[in-house]
């Protein structure tokens, strides 16, 4: 809104506002309301849906909404300026946004929070559960910042961003396969509900994760590669 007030509505169109609102809405829908209730007490696949919304789709939409000059206006100047001048903050962000660090954190977060003991522990302790959700959003913001590159920092080339998306999908696929292919329920907290057995619930949670990753990462890769979509012969003659 501040950018629009400065007469640069072209840099902060209503489409961006709609995207940001959608990202925020997706995140809020996941953590406040019926999905949260289902996730907390009834169905593992609802919980998985919650995680992919707050850790993947929500951050992706919000980062997408803020690309370009809009990014600088996200925080008020009195907050942003001191932060930008603080060396350790810049170094910390610089380190966190190194592709290997961001991917490592994202993959570690995915692996750690799906250890059955920790998963169930988080469900029994609200503070830990909130921290878990914070981790999902934080790691999601890191990897989507690299994939979308809202500030045009060019930390990664287009090819490297596609490689990162493929690596994220491959890492997610490992968890998906474990959830879908296991013959026994891994999370004792969930016993199934609404006629869905605990095992089917677990398999569905794997499918939810795979489908969501295919959707978000697939769209991201398609958008990244759209300019190169022409066949070689047409590129040569163009």
């Amino acid at each position: 809104m501040r950018l629009r007030r400065r007469g640069r509505a072209d840099r902060a169109g209503w489409d961006r506002i709609a995207l940001f609102a959608l990202g925020l809405g997706v995140t809020l829908f996941a953590i406040v309301g019926p999905l949260d209730n289902l996730a907390d007490s009834k169905l593992l696949f609802a919980h998985m849906g919650q995680h992919v919304l707050i850790g993947d789709l929500g951050p992706a939409l919000m980062v997408l909404a803020m690309r370009g000059p809009l990014l600088v206006f996200f925080l008020p100047a009195p907050v942003l300026a001191p932060l930008a001048r603080t060396g350790w903050v810049r170094r910390a962000f610089g380190t966190l946004l190194r592709p290997r660090v961001a991917f490592g954190l994202w993959a570690a977060n995915l692996a750690i929070w799906h250890v059955p003991y920790l998963y169930d522990l988080a469900l029994e302790h609200q503070n830990l559960h909130d921290f878990e959700h914070l981790c999902w959003t934080f790691c999601g913001l890191l990897v989507w910042t690299l994939l979308i590159d809202p500030g045009s920092h060019k930390r990664l080339t287009v090819g490297a961003r596609v490689a990162l998306a493929a690596a994220l999908f491959a890492a997610g696929q490992i968890l998906t396969d474990v959830l879908v292919f296991t013959f026994t329920p891994l999370y004792p907290y969930y016993h199934g509900a609404y006629g869905i057995s605990a095992l089917t619930d677990q398999k569905l949670s794997g499918i939810v994760m795979m489908a969501e990753q295919l959707l978000t990462l697939g769209v991201c890769v398609a958008l990244l590669l759209r300019p190169r979509w022409l066949p070689r012969s047409r590129v040569a003659t163009a």
Partner: protein, 247 residues
């Protein structure tokens, strides 16, 4: 008869020998590198051995799991190895004989259609009951497997198009394996009435088959996607070098 006795589909030994002879003849004009030779030989061996070994007997008379393993080998892995074994000259010769007209936009639906239709219960049961029907099933799977990998190995697809082709194939084909994994009853009546092995019920046998099929496809497709991602990175590196030289 022991479950581990050899089973045979001699047609595919004959076809593998014929393919080897044709390759040998083509190799005299256009000698392949060692790795291409090994790849082609490994592909033919996989086809012939999968269909003429104890695996054939287990697949045709006892376990769906083994049948799906057989199908994964002859439809996905072996055709890729065979195609990788072709030299540029051999591919050109195939192009002149009509393969040049093959387009990925219709290969993909044909491949998917064949993949699902050959696994439909009526066809699958019929093929298993008649025995010779298995030759048709396996012939279709090998043929569409070769067809599927053709646009990939010829290098006709740009990296973005290759990634789209593989992603569409992965997404399109994944449902069959998942159907096996999720189903709580056996799809194929044939396997309900065979002697049980290794303590596997018909449903568990089917679930394991689905796991195997999905696992194999995930590995093969992710490797192929990885290859195109590397090509994309190489192209970027090349263009950076070109810009550097011009600068």
């Amino acid at each position: 008869m022991s479950p581990y006795a050899f089973g045979f589909e001699p047609l595919f030994i004959a076809l593998a020998v014929a393919a080897a002879l044709l390759y040998w003849r083509a190799a005299r004009r256009d000698p392949p590198s060692r790795w291409r030779l090994v790849s082609f030989a490994a592909g033919l061996f996989l086809i012939a051995a999968s269909l003429n070994s104890p695996l054939e007997n287990l697949a045709a008379h006892y376990l769906l799991l083994m049948h799906l393993l057989q199908n994964a080998l002859i439809a996905d892995v072996a055709p890729l190895l065979v195609m990788l074994g072709l030299t540029a000259g051999m591919r050109d010769a195939l192009r002149r004989r009509g393969a040049g007209r093959l387009r990925s936009r219709w290969i993909l639906p044909v491949w998917l259609l064949a993949w699902y239709l050959t696994h439909l219960a009526p066809f699958y049961n019929w093929a298993l009951r008649t025995g010779w029907g298995l030759n048709i099933e396996h012939g279709i799977l090998i043929a569409v497997g070769l067809l599927f990998w053709w646009p990939i190995v010829t290098g006709r697809l740009t990296p973005p198009a290759g990634l789209a082709y593989l992603a569409a194939a992965f997404v399109g084909s994944v449902f069959l394996g998942l159907a096996y994994v999720f189903s709580s009853h056996p799809y194929y009546t044939f396997y309900e009435h065979v002697p049980r092995l290794w303590g596997l019920s018909a449903t568990r046998d089917q679930s394991l088959g689905g796991i195997l099929m999905n696992g194999e496809q995930t590995i093969v497709f992710l490797l192929a996607i990885g290859y195109f991602v590397l090509r994309l990175l190489d192209e970027e590196h090349e263009s950076e070098l070109t810009v550097g030289r011009q600068g």
